[in-house]
């Protein structure tokens, strides 16, 4: 595939994300500054005169997520980005958006926590993203990019999946990927022509009024709504699981990682192989829907001795690995918190520690 010279750029992750949004036909962005993702708002502000998307720096993340709700319900392609404390503020809005089945995209450029935390990268918001940080039974489609290129690719994919299933989707990224600069191939600008008969655009005589709500006071009706949502999530689970395998075919040790740590773990696999250790990397790309079945298949292989989940948190995705492996093999965890990025050597040592 020939890469057009004009579309290759050397970009910072956050800025590439913003540019990808513009090229995907962004119609509205409502956000609030927070390190390490403020470049997204800043880039969109600089580019605003050249395009006709609506850009509002809202008064808070709470206001921002509700603006996303209003605009998405009015039929527009919209998104917001934030970092961990801001994502916590958005949880109520996300629960409403999920129940009202509104397509829109979020990106959490995760930083160390809990609390005000640090501005360095971390992966401590996995639970919040995947198990639902807001109230009720809902899910976001969660993609975990591990490079600037994937920030771009996953953003476009997130918008498409959001529209396809009428559901919110998000990128679970982190401060390092947001801040790092890499070569990136940008996609061509796509004109966005949605067909959303359910949107609140004004009741014309040919249809009844459209109501966007998440209020279902009668229990029977609320249960039905929940069943509709669950059926949708099952469809997404059946069709949209994405993962990456690296040197897994004859592996005896499977290390698992998402996002930033998955890049480091590729190096770990190579180092291990040089020492004659048969290691492979299993990397979920969608952390929701989680690639449970594939992991279960791997766990069933006799040659696989154990799993090691490597994360920049205190142990979050490891629980989903354990659920998938379902007791067939041991599942261990290695992690660093506070924004510390583990080195390939320390991860390899941790893996070797379990070999004995």
């Amino acid at each position: 595939m020939e890469e057009k010279l004009g579309e290759i750029k050397f970009m910072k992750g956050n800025e590439a994300l913003a540019e990808a949004a513009i090229r995907a036909g962004l119609q509205g962005y409502f956000g609030y500054p927070i390190t390490p993702q403020s470049e997204v708002v800043e880039y969109l502000a600089m580019e605003e005169p050249k395009h006709d998307y609506v850009l509002i720096q809202a008064e808070s993340e709470v206001a921002a997520v509700n603006m996303v709700y209003g605009a998405a319900a009015a039929g527009a392609r919209v998104m917001t980005t934030t970092s961990s404390p801001g994502f916590s503020l958005m949880q109520e809005g996300i629960s409403y958006i999920a129940c009202a089945e509104l397509p829109c995209v979020f990106a959490n450029i995760v930083r160390g926590g809990p609390g005000l935390g640090t501005i360095q990268a971390s992966q401590g918001d996995y639970f919040q993203a995947v198990k639902g940080g807001g109230h009720g039974d809902y899910h976001l489609i969660v993609l975990a990019p591990n490079s600037v290129q994937e920030m771009v690719d996953h953003l476009g994919l997130a918008f498409e999946l959001a529209d396809k299933y009428r559901t919110p989707a998000m990128l679970l990224s982190d401060g390092s990927i947001g801040q790092m600069m890499e070569k990136v191939v940008l996609p061509e600008t796509k004109p966005y022509k949605p067909d959303k008969p359910w949107a609140t655009t004004g009741k014309t005589p040919d249809r009844p009024r459209n109501i966007i709500t998440s209020l279902y006071i009668q229990s029977e009706v609320m249960e039905k709504k929940n069943q509709t949502l669950q059926a949708k999530y099952q469809q997404i689970l059946d069709n949209e699981v994405r993962f990456e395998k690296y040197r897994v075919d004859d592996a005896e040790i499977i290390i698992s990682a998402f996002g930033l740590t998955s890049r480091i773990c590729k190096k770990v696999v190579d180092l291990a192989r040089e020492e004659g250790i048969k290691m492979g990397l299993f990397r979920p790309i969608t952390v929701w829907p989680f690639p449970t079945d594939r992991l279960a298949q791997l766990a069933a292989q006799d040659r696989v001795k154990f799993f090691l989940s490597v994360e920049m948190n205190a142990g979050q995705m490891v629980e989903d690995i354990r659920l998938s492996v379902n007791g067939k093999k041991p599942v261990y965890f290695y992690g660093r918190q506070g924004g510390i990025v583990p080195t390939p050597e320390e991860i390899l040592n941790a893996a070797k520690g379990h070999l004995k």
Partner: protein, 255 residues
């Protein structure tokens, strides 16, 4: 209809043929009715999008035959902001109570007004939280008894009631702010004219329009509907005066 007579008033078609759940005498129903009359008379049903709050009027979309969105508590101003920005040629209104607009939603209210977002606020101020059973609101009067101020609101500990129409009228982005009420036929007619004026000003893109309704709550105030009108006249209007706090120069508005 009897022979020799003509209809001089009937229920607007834009108000759906459904019995509203509001308590007897509640001005929520009155304002729903007036707003729907205005929308029918202006012929803008196809171009209207409303946002309803959490509060007694959480089911407003069951009564108003326009496209509507339910907002999270306090967030109607943010939701309406986005709708109007995405669909600038539509008539957008947010409909909120005192908890929604003046407590949890104060930031969204102030900032939408400060940015001059071109939608219409309809603020139903009845000095109490009706839906949740009659608790104190930011607009509860000093000395007024509610379930969370059983001995009367103590201004020393909790401050005095917030005057939202006055506050927002100070912001440059607000084009029109008026406080109205529905305790008499004359005032009710004025309230309808104010709603119409607000939507006309919105249509001209002059800025935020803010209609505060000094409203009643017979259930929360523990009185009859007719007695609630006396409370409004004797206690509420002296503190929350009716009238225009800000409007565009006459030349800009022909209503």
């Amino acid at each position: 209809m009897k022979e020799g007579y003509e209809v001089v008033y009937k229920r607007p078609k834009t108000l759906l043929d459904k019995r509203m759940h509001y308590c007897p005498g509640c001005f929520h129903a009155t304002i729903h009715k007036l707003l729907m009359e205005v929308i029918e008379e202006m012929g803008i049903q196809e171009k209207t999008v409303g946002v309803c709050p959490v509060g007694c009027s959480v089911f407003a979309y069951d009564y108003m035959d326009v496209d509507m969105q339910e907002a999270a508590h306090g967030r109607a101003a943010a939701v309406a902001t986005a709708i109007k920005r995405m669909l600038p040629d539509r008539y957008v209104f947010s409909y909120q109570g005192d908890g929604d607009l003046a407590a949890i939603g104060t930031a969204e209210t102030i900032h939408a007004c400060n940015r001059g977002e071109k939608f219409t606020f309809i603020f139903i101020n009845n000095g109490i939280y009706g839906m949740t059973g009659g608790q104190m609101a930011p607009t509860t009067l000093e000395g007024q008894k509610t379930t969370t101020s059983p001995y009367g609101r103590d201004a020393k500990k909790l401050g005095l009631p917030l005057k939202m129409a006055e506050m927002v009228s100070q912001l440059a982005g607000v084009a029109y702010a008026e406080r109205v009420s529905c305790n008499t036929p004359a005032n009710t007619r004025k309230a309808k004219r104010a709603l119409r004026k607000a939507l006309e000003i919105q249509g001209k893109g002059l800025g935020t329009t803010f209609i505060e309704v000094a409203s009643n709550c017979p259930s929360g105030w523990k009185c009859t509907p007719v007695e609630s009108l006396d409370w409004l006249k004797d206690k509420v209007y002296p503190y929350f005066p009716l009238g225009v706090f800000k409007e565009p120069p006459a030349a800009k508005v022909e209503v």
